[in-house]
Amino acid sequence: MKHVKGLMGTALAVAMLGIGAAQAADVSWMGYSYAEESAKPSVDKIIAGFTSKTGKTVEPIASAFGDLQKNLLLRVRSHTQPDVVQISERWLPSFASLPGLVDYNTVFGADNLAKIYAPEALAMGQVDGKQLALPLMSGSIGMVANNAVLQQAGITEMPKTTDEFKKDLIAIRDKVPNSVPYAMATKNNSDILVDFQTWEYAFGADIIDANGKVVVDSDASKKALGFLVDLMKERLIAPEIGRPDARRLVGQSAAAFYLDAPQSRTFLRSFSGKGKDFDVNIKPMQVPVANAGQEPTSIQWAHLIIAFQQSNPPTKDDANMQFVAWLGDDAVETQFPVEQSALPGTISARANPIVADDAYLSAWAKNNTNPKRNEVGIWSNSGELTDILAEEVQAALLGQKSADDAITSMGARMKESMIKAGHAQ
């Protein structure tokens, strides 16, 4: 009996060692692109390029987009953080206080970085004067239309104002049976956040100001939400739609408009089943505004690269810093972002013909000239803020509350959350 147990214990220990042993690579890179089947080969190419150039190895750690924040934080809590991490720009502030995060200014020098990276993309990686992240690719979340659906509804011009937008939506509802004219995100809290925020800007409203003061409880906000509630009542938007559902609907020409990052093209190609032939239908456009003449806004969007120091203080010669520098190289920047239908973060890559001549990317850039910061995502308590916002918006859209009540309650709850997070109201 004792022997049996002893044997089992040994076997278990051996198994653990065998399976648990970490591969010792020079750099571990956690990211969500590696978890996406379509982007994986591109990531492998980046790594192979780095290895052939420097002889150093990279271990990619895949983590699904929706899971990465949690995985990274759990790893930091247990002191097993990866060396380099691909993150979404809206997570940066919540990661900014993590111990060991590299300020790239101290490694590469602020002046050098300004020479390499496009200013607005570089700015997205700054927190309190520190350069905590560098852009891998950038762009904005803006509106995309499906031209095939517009034609079916007899719409020839893109709507400029919210009134025109609504009129077009009605035409689509009446002429394209069983469609969701505007595939607004009405489920998944982080999706709702982006859509609602876009309309807040379109109505000239704000949610939280730069100092952390909650300002959502305003007439403009009430109008914005009221507008969306009205769209729901008129069946111009539909419940139970998340970003992926919206992509599928637009890809299958069952919806005319939706909000997405420039990666939209890659998704729509795949969801339509038509590949590049579907490109003619994909039209980036300006987000309609409440008042004619108002400047249309979109929301800043980027994939950023953060790193945890390998030596103290970090230097250019650290393997992970070499890798970060490699990610800014033209070899990577003229390829990976384009494959993902997004703008590169570096100046030289943007000037490269591969990027500059891409009609879709330039149309995107032309229509989204005024990207605003994500006002909610940037706070350290953004998880809670996002839940509050989405719950209140959903409650109004589903008719459980009036738009006005929902906004008032959203304001009160957000204030409470901000106070708890240390921002006086």
Binding site: K5, K70, T186, K187, P239, E240, G383, D387
Partner: protein, 314 residues
């Protein structure tokens, strides 16, 4: 032996029914050592994966431990203060009671009904019994997928059927209404749990004394009287076990709800298991999450303890 024949309730540990040879005098010390030795591996595993983490959580509930605070700070009972004054947490308690109550009751009724049906002899019974285990055997994510697809607002079966029958004019978003979402998660939960309950009830039914039933039938008892007076009383011990399993399963159920509704719409299906997860892994308020969890245990433990004694003492 069943509980209805049990004697007076024992009041001291020594009075609990124990193996006879365990009482023998001289061997007692040796016996005790063997008993403890056999218990040890399980006890160690229990301590490492359940007890120690729980103790940790208990401690964490007294700390402010959020994203900003990499090192937690002690704040005494302030988390509890916040939890207890938070209407949302109370809401979650209510939602949990509804979810666990309805799904356990639903499974109880349908599982018992199904067991009674499959206890009759008819052609094809063996096949149906075997197939019945399927809902239990498919992974819970899969069952959530299936039901989400059936309830889907655009391409779902339920909408299609109702539209076809002209009972509704436009597709309804069932999972976007609080009632619809709750109904969907309960239906899924019940669907998944019927097989296990059925197995337990079927087992209980094997012990029903058929001679007694025959005698009752000769006395003129109908099917309903047989069910009420003979079968159900006999199933009482099974019922106790099944309720425990049902409540544990329901309370701990995270996967069905997370995969089906994510706790929404708004907070309609945010049961405590989802609430703890969200607080801890989405909002990164580990202290608060722990406080909610501790409160949950504090609410449940006393009744659970008394109820479970029914199980152990038989």
């Amino acid at each position: 032996m069943s509980s209805d024949t049990a004697g007076p309730v024992p009041t001291r540990i020594e009075d609990y029914p124990v193996s006879r040879h365990a009482r023998r005098g001289g061997l007692q010390a040796v016996q005790r050592r063997i008993g403890l030795l056999m218990l040890a591996p399980a006890a160690i595993a229990f301590a490492v994966v359940i007890l120690y983490p729980f103790g940790q959580a208990l401690a964490l509930s007294l700390f402010e431990d959020t994203l900003q605070s990499i090192t937690p700070t002690f704040i005494g009972l302030r988390n509890f203060e916040q939890v207890l004054t938070d209407p949302e947490v109370w809401g979650s308690f209510g939602t949990t009671v509804i979810y666990v109550g309805c799904s356990t009751l639903g499974t109880l009724v349908l599982g018992l009904g199904w067991a009674l049906l499959l206890n009759q002899k008819f052609r094809g019974r063996g096949v149906i019994r075997a197939l019945t285990l399927m809902p239990w055997v498919v992974p819970s994510t899969v069952s959530a997928f299936i039901w989400a697809w059936i309830f889907n607002s655009r391409f779902g079966l339920i909408n299609g059927l109702l539209l076809e029958l002209h009972l509704i004019q436009v597709p309804q978003a069932w999972l976007s209404t609080p009632e619809g979402a709750m109904l969907a998660v309960i239906l899924t939960r019940v669907w998944r749990s019927i097989p296990l309950f059925m197995a337990f009830f079927l087992a209980g039914l094997q012990n029903v004394d058929t001679e007694q039933l025959d005698a009752a039938r000769v006395d003129g008892a109908g099917n309903f009287a047989i069910l009420r007076d003979h079968v159900l009383p006999h199933l009482r011990p099974v019922l106790i076990v099944v309720v425990v399993l049902g409540v544990i399963g329901g309370l701990q159920d995270f996967d069905t709800i997370y995969a089906l509704t994510g706790g929404g719409p708004v907070r309609a299906t945010a049961v405590l298991s989802v609430e703890v997860y969200r607080k801890a892994f989405e909002q990164w308020d580990v202290g608060m999450a722990s406080a909610i969890g501790v409160l949950w245990v504090a609410t449940l433990l006393p009744p659970a303890f008394f109820y479970l004694r029914l199980l152990v003492r038989r």
